[in-house]
Each structure stands twice: as structure tokens, then as C-alpha cells.
């Protein structure tokens, strides 16, 4: 589904070139549940940004279902993100003035969908992440775990092929982290969307079926494994 082909990314920082990624090549299959791990500065966030079409590689290319992201202009990249990519953030980044329902609804409004046409879909998804009782609450009235559930529902509501999660458990305690990972694993099976994490968190690595370790912008290893899980 997603092919990263000899991708390098060089940033210019303080007048000096800094290579964040060195000639990375890998492939992400449909419905993957994988993580990029590695220390800070290893290139995890850079590769997530490149896969999300937020940034362009300095060399090499990224192909999504055969289409090169490098050849897309700004508007095409926005459309790619809007239609195919869901983001989950460490700090949730929910819109604080809107309710749970409205936060989940929002990506569909960006896709020019009518609220009346998608109301049931949004409610069902909120129910799937276990937040039906909180559907009319605002993020400030929710716990961290609940906020992250809203963020997951928001990422999945447009049925994306790809969900990119940057340190999704970093702000959660252990129990909430496991709950969230269980939920994401279940949704990965239900929605067939590929979940790609970048994380330091060992708890995440217990769940993923593939783990890619980055070190100084190089792939140190890329292994497929049986997920250990926690509750399952």
C-alpha cells in the first residue's frame, strides 16, 4: 500500500545540513499494525511526517497505492491526507470548544459531508470507543484516556487507509495505555486501516506485529513478530 523508496531527508539547521533519514526503503502493507521505535532524533517523527504528506523527502520517493507523494502539489497532498490519513497525537489535540461528537464529526465536515448524512456513523464510532455517555461533553471534561479515545475515533471516522500515531500513549498511565492499545488493535481488525506508531513506549511494542528500529536516520532493524498483548 505504502512504499518508501530510498528516502532521505536533510534539514538545514543553523546554516548546517542535518540528515534526519538516510536512504530508507520499506513497505507498509494494508492493515499493518507496526511501530517505529528509536531514541529521540532517530528520525521517527520525520518518517511519520513524510508518510502523512506533511513534508517532502529530499531524495527518493514515497508511493501510496502506486502514486508518488513527491509529485503531488500542496492541494493534492491535502486531499491525500483528508481522504487517506488519520492522525493521533501525543497531546490529543482535540478542539477544546467542541463536544466529543463535534470533534469526531469534524473531519467529515472537511470532506464536505452533510452532518445529517453522517450523524449515525459518528454516534456509532463514539459508541465503539466507549464514549457514548460522554458524547456531549467537551474535552476539558474528559480524562486523558477518554481524550485519546476521541482522537482515535476522529482519526478513524473517515475510514482512512492509514492511521499515523505519534507517541499516542506518552501522556497516559499504564492502565489507560493498555486500554487504548487494545482499542486500537480491535479497530485495526474492524476497520482494516494500517496503524503506524512512532514511540518510545515498550507497551506499544508488545502489541505491534512489526517493529522498525531507527538509529540516527538509519534502519537498524525491521522485524515482524507475534504481538504479546496485555489483556488479550
Amino acid at each position: 500500500m505504502l512504499v518508501i523508496d530510498h528516502v532521505s531527508k536533510i534539514y538545514r539547521v543553523g546554516g548546517q545540513d542535518f540528515t534526519a533519514l538516510h536512504d530508507i526503503s520499506l513497505e507498509v502493507e494494508e492493515g499493518a499494525f507496526m511501530s517505529f521505535v528509536g531514541p529521540s532524533g532517530s528520525g521517527k517523527t520525520t518518517i511519520i511526517n513524510l508518510m502523512g504528506g506533511l513534508d517532502q523527502p529530499t531524495s527518493g520517493e514515497i508511493l501510496f497505492k502506486g502514486r508518488s507523494l513527491a509529485k503531488m502539489d500542496r492541494n493534492e497532498l491535502a486531499a491525500y491526507r483528508r481522504e487517506n490519513v488519520g492522525f493521533i497525537f501525543q497531546s490529543y489535540n482535540l478542539l477544546p470548544v467542541y463536544t466529543v461528537y463535534e470533534n469526531v464529526l469534524f473531519p467529515l465536515l472537511l470532506n464536505d459531508e452533510k452532518e445529517s448524512a453522517v450523524r449515525e456513523k459518528v454516534r456509532a464510532l463514539v459508541d465503539q470507543v466507549g464514549l457514548s455517555p460522554e458524547i456531549n461533553k467537551k474535552p476539558t471534561e474528559l480524562s486523558g484516556g477518554q481524550c485519546q479515545r476521541v482522537a482515535i475515533a476522529r482519526a478513524l471516522v473517515k475510514d482512512p487507509a492509514l492511521v499515523l500515531a505519534d507517541e499516542p500513549t506518552a501522556n497516559l498511565d499504564a492502565e489507560n495505555s493498555y486500554h487504548i492499545l487494545e482499542l486500537m488493535l480491535k479497530l485495526n481488525r474492524d476497520f482494516k486501516a494500517a496503524f503506524i506508531f512512532c514511540t518510545h513506549d515498550e507497551k506499544v511494542t508488545k502489541y505491534v506485529r512489526r517493529e522498525v528500529r531507527l538509529e540516527d536516520g538509519f534502519v537498524e532493524w525491521d522485524k515482524t513478530k507475534q504481538p504479546e498483548g496485555h489483556f488479550s
Binding site: T45, L54, A78, F89, V97, Y98
Partner: protein
């Protein structure tokens, strides 16, 4: 999406309250200033119209061309027929009143009948004997007479109070008018001074006398003749409409001239004038409009600057939200469009509030007015002692346009920084924040 944005504006007061207040206050002040300035100008026009020019004036051109000489021989005959035609062929809101401008020597005799004092006066003859006469109400004679009473019988006269002082006149004194009649012969007639009037204009208070129209027609041998038909319009008709009404009457006038009243002279050539055609008032109107535009421009600029600043603060406050929207697949253009739409809605709501407050304030000042306590009395300006603001569509339009524009432009300038930022940078900053 509009409903979505409205919810955000309503719930997040930090993004909407300050711009809303700035726009509301700005629009309120603009409507107030424009209404007040229009009120000053319209007040000047009204005073001038009531005392001298009418809002519209139907006058014989030969008379008008030499009116400084008050050539009564060029007055217009067929008073009733002409008046009837004017009423039938002009906008029904116009009230037409016939008048005679006259000039004469006013002679004040002593007890022996010898001249005690004498001076040239200019006068106006109006229909004023009936208590409910529109002219009497228009010139507010009941209030303007500071001593004595308003004439109620024939050959009674009102005299400007300064003129009365200069001539040493007492109430109920008789004066003799010595002038030229319609035929070019000498006209003399005696009048009883029954009241002293204060017009509030030094020039008029020093030189003016008022008599009844029928008396003037007798004194100056002008049966069924007047020098002017003045048209008066209600306050709600703005001066910009006068020219339209004038053109409308002009369109019928040619036909009237082809079949004129039998008492018109062969060389009579009546014309219709708007107040702006007289006493250089059109130039004054242009200057007032220029001042209006400067005021609107300055206010719009100030609002843009303040709202630009507010937009920048708002942009910082919502940097994360914008990064998030871009990550979700919103394009830069659409994002800026959304922000502009939001600013437009805040501008619209703020302008609506400003219209309500400013409109209410101007309406109050229109009905009640502000007293100038006579500060214009000696200025020579034809200004009323009480300034009434004017509520006009024009003021609303000129206040709402900059109100909404300032909101959108201020926001767009502030959002230029976001437009130039790359998605990756916004995304990183979103994560950092």
C-alpha cells in the same frame, strides 16, 4: 460549516469577544458620527430651506437671475393655478408654500408723524394668519417671537429683534413701508408691529420683517402673484433625494410651459431649483461628504490595525488548531478562507450590534436633539439652535462596510504568517505546543 464556525465563535469568547467589541464600538461611533454630521448639515439645510430657499424652489428665472434686486415685476402670476399644478405634478411628500420676497424702506414715525428712524429692510411674506398655518409651524413662529405675538389680523408685522432695537421700536408701533410695487410705481403701506422675532441668525435679526402674504399682495399690487413657490420635505427625506425630485418635476415642466396659466407673462420662464443649487450649498455638501469619507476611512484604518493585532493574538492562540486542520487535510487556502469567513461572521455580528446601539443613539438624538445654547447665533451660519442627528441608510452602509472589511482584512493580514508556514512546521509546532 457556517453553523460549526458560529458554534466556535459563540463558545470561544477569546476568539470572538475582543474583535466583536472593537467592531461594535467602531460601527457605533461611525453611525453616531455620520448621523451627527449629517444632522448638522441637514439642520443647516433645513434652516436655510425654511427661511430662504425651500428644499425645492419654483421661481421665475428672470426674477431669480436678479433676485438681489428683488425685481417684483418679474414675479409669477397665476398663483392658485401654478400651486395646483405643482401639487399634482410633484412627489406627494412635498408641501408647497407660496411666498413673496420683498424689499422696502421701513419708516418709523414719531408722535407727530415725522420720521423718527428709517432703514432699508428685506422681508418675506408668508401665509401666517391661521393658527394652524404650515408656514407658521415651519418657522416655529410661536417660539421665535420673543416679545408680543404672532400676527393674527391684516397689516400686522413681525420684526427682527435687533432691527427693532436699532429703530427703537415698541410693540404696537406703526411703521410705514416705502417700496416699489409690481408696476414699478411707489408702494406705501402702514403696518402694526405686533411682535419681535429672533431667527437666531444675526443677519436676519438685524434686517428682516415678516408680513402676511395677502397683505404683501395688496401693498405691492401683486394680486394672484408671488415671487416663489417653496417646496418643503419631511426630515426623513435626505438631501441627496432633492435632485431626483427636482428632475422629476422638470420632466413635466416643459409641457406646463406650453400651456401656461393665463396670468403668466409672455416671457415668464419658471425653473425648479433644489436647495443645493442655491447659496453655494452644493459645494458645501461635497465638502461634508468628503469629511464623511475621511472619517469613515480613518475609522476603517484604525479598526483594521486593532483587528490585525487581535487577529495576530488569535492566530497565536489558535496556532495548534490551524496545524491540526492542515494535518487533517485542510488546504492552506481553505483554512485562510475559513478564518476569513469566521472574521466575516464576527464582523457581521459586531456590525449588527453596532447598528443597533449607534442607530438607537442617533434615533434618540434625531428626536430629542442637542442644544448648542446659541453658540452659532452670531456666526452667520444658518444653523438651528438645536442640532438633530439624522438616521440614514447611508450611515449604516458606510459603517457596516468598514466594520466587516476591517474584521476580514485584519484577520487576513494576521493569517499571512500561517499561509506562508509549511504544513510540517505547523505540525511540529502543534506537537510542541
Amino acid at each position: 460549516m457556517i453553523r460549526w464556525l458560529l458554534k466556535g465563535i459563540w463558545r470561544d469568547k477569546t476568539r470572538s469577544l475582543f474583535p466583536f467589541l472593537v467592531i461594535s464600538v467602531g460601527v457605533t461611533l461611525l453611525i453616531y458620527l455620520l448621523g451627527f454630521m449629517e444632522g448638522i448639515f441637514a439642520g443647516m439645510l433645513d434652516v436655510s430651506a425654511h427661511l430662504d430657499t425651500g428644499h425645492l424652489r419654483f421661481v421665475n428665472k428672470p426674477f431669480y437671475d436678479e433676485e438681489h434686486l428683488i425685481p417684483l415685476d418679474r414675479a409669477l402670476g397665476g398663483q392658485n393655478e401654478t400651486l395646483e399644478w405643482l401639487r399634482k405634478n410633484s412627489d406627494p411628500r412635498i408641501e408647497w408654500s407660496p411666498r413673496i420676497r420683498w424689499g422696502a424702506i421701513m419708516d418709523v414715525p414719531d408722535e407727530k408723524g415725522e420720521t423718527r428712524s428709517q432703514t432699508p429692510v428685506v422681508g418675506v411674506a408668508i401665509e401666517m394668519l391661521a393658527a394652524d398655518s404650515p408656514e407658521r409651524i415651519r418657522l416655529d413662529l410661536e417660539r421665535s417671537v420673543i416679545a408680543g405675538r404672532v400676527p393674527s389680523g391684516p397689516k400686522e408685522m413681525l420684526v427682527g429683534y435687533k432691527l427693532a432695537e436699532a429703530l427703537g421700536l415698541q410693540l404696537d408701533d406703526f411703521v410705514t413701508l416705502l417700496g416699489q410695487n409690481f408696476d414699478g410705481g411707489m408702494a406705501t403701506d402702514n403696518y402694526k408691529v405686533v411682535g419681535f422675532v429672533r431667527f437666531g441668525l444675526a443677519a436676519m435679526d438685524k434686517k428682516m420683517a415678516l408680513i402676511d402674504l395677502t397683505d404683501a399682495q395688496q401693498t405691492f399690487y401683486m394680486e394672484d402673484m408671488v415671487t416663489d413657490f417653496l417646496g418643503f420635505l419631511p426630515r426623513e427625506v435626505g438631501y441627496k433625494e432633492y435632485d431626483v425630485l427636482k428632475i422629476n418635476i422638470e420632466s413635466h415642466l416643459a409641457l406646463f410651459k406650453q400651456n401656461p396659466p393665463k396670468n403668466w407673462a409672455a416671457d415668464d420662464d419658471p425653473i425648479i431649483l433644489s436647495i443645493l443649487d442655491q447659496r453655494n450649498l452644493r459645494e458645501l455638501a461635497v465638502k461634508f461628504e468628503l469629511v464623511d469619507e475621511v472619517v469613515v476611512g480613518v475609522f476603517a484604518l484604525l479598526m483594521i490595525l486593532v483587528l490585525w493585532n487581535a487577529g495576530l493574538l488569535n492566530g497565536v492562540h489558535r496556532y495548534g488548531e490551524m496545524g491540526l486542520l492542515l494535518a487533517m487535510g485542510e488546504t492552506h487556502k481553505k483554512l485562510i478562507g475559513l478564518m476569513a469567513l469566521e472574521a466575516f461572521m464576527i464582523g457581521l455580528i459586531g456590525s449588527a450590534a453596532g447598528c443597533l446601539i449607534g442607530g438607537g443613539l442617533v434615533y434618540y438624538l434625531q428626536e430629542v436633539g442637542v442644544s448648542t445654547h446659541g453658540i452659532f447665533e452670531t456666526s452667520g451660519l444658518m444653523m438651528s439652535d438645536t442640532i438633530h442627528a439624522r438616521l440614514s441608510t447611508y450611515a449604516f452602509v458606510f459603517a457596516v462596510i468598514p466594520g466587516v472589511t476591517a474584521s476580514v482584512v485584519g484577520n487576513l493580514i494576521a493569517n499571512l504568517a500561517i499561509y506562508q508556514r509549511s504544513e510540517a512546521n505547523l505540525f511540529r509546532e502543534l506537537e510542541a505546543g
